[in-house]
Symmetry: C2
Subunit: 312 residues, 2 copies
């Protein structure tokens, strides 16, 4: 099954207590695509500048990712500078240069039109809606957003939310979007805005899924599901952990014949697994060279560290 | 099996977005004892003032709790005033009147000396140590503390930590005690201070157990265990949730013939269950009238909302 992701392919300059990297390959679509590539075919729509070289593209193509939808425009690629300190739960953005991304007009190659799964990474909701409208027959639509779009582009975002099968956001974004402090109330309000289900990410504490009345074709459950994250001694660089979670989550769903409640739950575990790998090295380094065996081993670890023995 | 708990029996005046209560029965030992009483025999050592009336004692004795170790001193009982706002994750202490608690000298009734399980609730570590020394033959010692003792009584606390089989503290306390921001590093450092195991409570996100090299008689596992908390739409009053967690956790352990890794894991689930009940009403109200069936139903819910289907 093929996943089409639209989002940013960018360069990041990151500083953490473990060191610094300058202009390493990053961007939501990059992390998502690499993480999802271990489970499904991935196709990327993005725009890059002339500083995006064959060696950068090779990072994606080496993982079998279809890059025909990555357009090159005159100028420089999107560049983000950020720093993490202390518990490293939140990045401090030092600088954002949109560069060619400022005029991003997603174009869907004809070869991508048969994609069954659509992921709208964190970009302008107007662009998310435009892509979604050009892909009316996809099986599932999953999306992300962030505080900037929630506060300054609420109307455009509202249109996108109505189209989503799964919205993936973190605690703070859910509170901002709903105006509710309590996570359960925030989830109910977010679901009332349209998404059929909501995956609320809690960083080092894992993630909780909430299901609306119409989530995945009548197989709804009103009960939330909580997946753990792995306590990690060495978080080298948390950049892209959320996008990698989304890639593992959605990639696993796309790899299964049907989206059952159990597939959804397992997908959350795979999301946590890929998010945890992403943090182990700077940038996308760890996501470039995983094996499916390493992924399965960590999946088992996640299961063991959160599961009781079966009832006798 | 009998649990001996030493700690505060107090009155709380609490304000939350759901209302206010004045002078309701509270205190760490009270919450702990009520929660643990659904699993094991509980004996309390505390001091109260003349405002502690038969109706207050009856709350404990109605649950079969042994109150012979609750001494009455001239004056008023410990009184805490606190308020919660917003996400209600942390109380703002408005006032603390130690009253008779200021001169608390725990005395262990002869009838309590055969207690197999000792719980040192959050009190002056000097008193914790004194009680622990008078109970040299207990099977297990579990304890709690808080930021005040960590910062201002570090030396006395260090002596208590060396005596503990299980230390139960929250994220912030673990960070303060260890000086480490990262939870895994904080856990390792706390374990190096003496406790054989550490249960780090994450509030609405559940709790993680970390095990030292010598935890429960050689059956150590180096792998942490993560138990969920239940997403709750109505947190009426979080006061005592941590003590109720401890009561469910330790009560379940005391109800089992042996402390195996699986018993420890299940105990964490029962801790979360009792903590979630505590938040549903003001003060100890919800903990006074539970049934074992309600507890088992919620335990199953915790399991279902965090467990994948068994591997085929």
């Amino acid at each position: 099954m093929s996943i089409l992701v639209v989002g940013s392919v960018a360069f990041d300059s990151i500083s953490t207590p473990h060191g610094k990297v300058d202009h390493c390959l990053g961007g939501a679509a990059t992390y998502f695509a690499l993480a999802a590539s271990y489970f499904a075919d991935v196709r990327v729509i993005a725009v890059v500048g002339e500083d995006f070289l064959p060696q950068h593209e090779a990072v994606l193509t080496a993982r079998g990712i279809d890059t025909r939808g990555i357009e090159t425009a005159p100028g420089l690629s999107f560049h983000w500078m950020g720093a993490y300190a202390g518990a490293m739960n939140e990045a401090e953005t030092l600088n954002t240069d949109l560069n060619v991304f400022a005029d991003f007009e997603p174009k869907i190659p004809a070869a991508y039109l048969d994609s069954e799964y659509l992921f709208l990474a964190n970009i302008d909701p107007l662009l998310q809606a435009r892509v979604r409208n050009q892909m009316p027959d996809v099986k599932l639509v999953c999306g992300d957003t962030m505080n900037y779009w929630i506060s300054a582009h609420a109307e455009n975002l509202a249109k996108v939310l109505r189209e989503l099968d799964v919205l993936l956001i973190n605690d703070g974004e859910a509170r901002m979007l709903s105006g509710e402090q309590n996570a359960t109330k925030a989830a109910a309000k977010v679901l009332s805005m349209g998404p059929k289900s909501l995956v609320m990410k809690h960083g080092e504490y894992g993630a909780t899924a909430f299901f609306g009345a119409h989530s995945f074709a009548g197989k709804a459950t009103s009960r939330p599901f909580r997946a753990p994250a792995m306590p990690m001694a060495e978080v080298v660089d948390p950049t892209g952990a959320g996008d990698s979670f989304a890639g593992g989550f959605y990639g696993y769903i796309a790899s299964q014949p049907e989206l059952t409640p159990e597939v959804f739950r397992r997908a959350m575990f795979y999301g946590g697994v890929m998010g945890s790998f992403a943090c182990e090295r700077f940038g996308t380094e760890r996501l470039q060279s995983l094996t499916r065996e390493e992924i399965e081993t960590r999946f088992k670890l996640f299961r063991e560290m959160s599961h009781l023995a079966p009832e006798i």
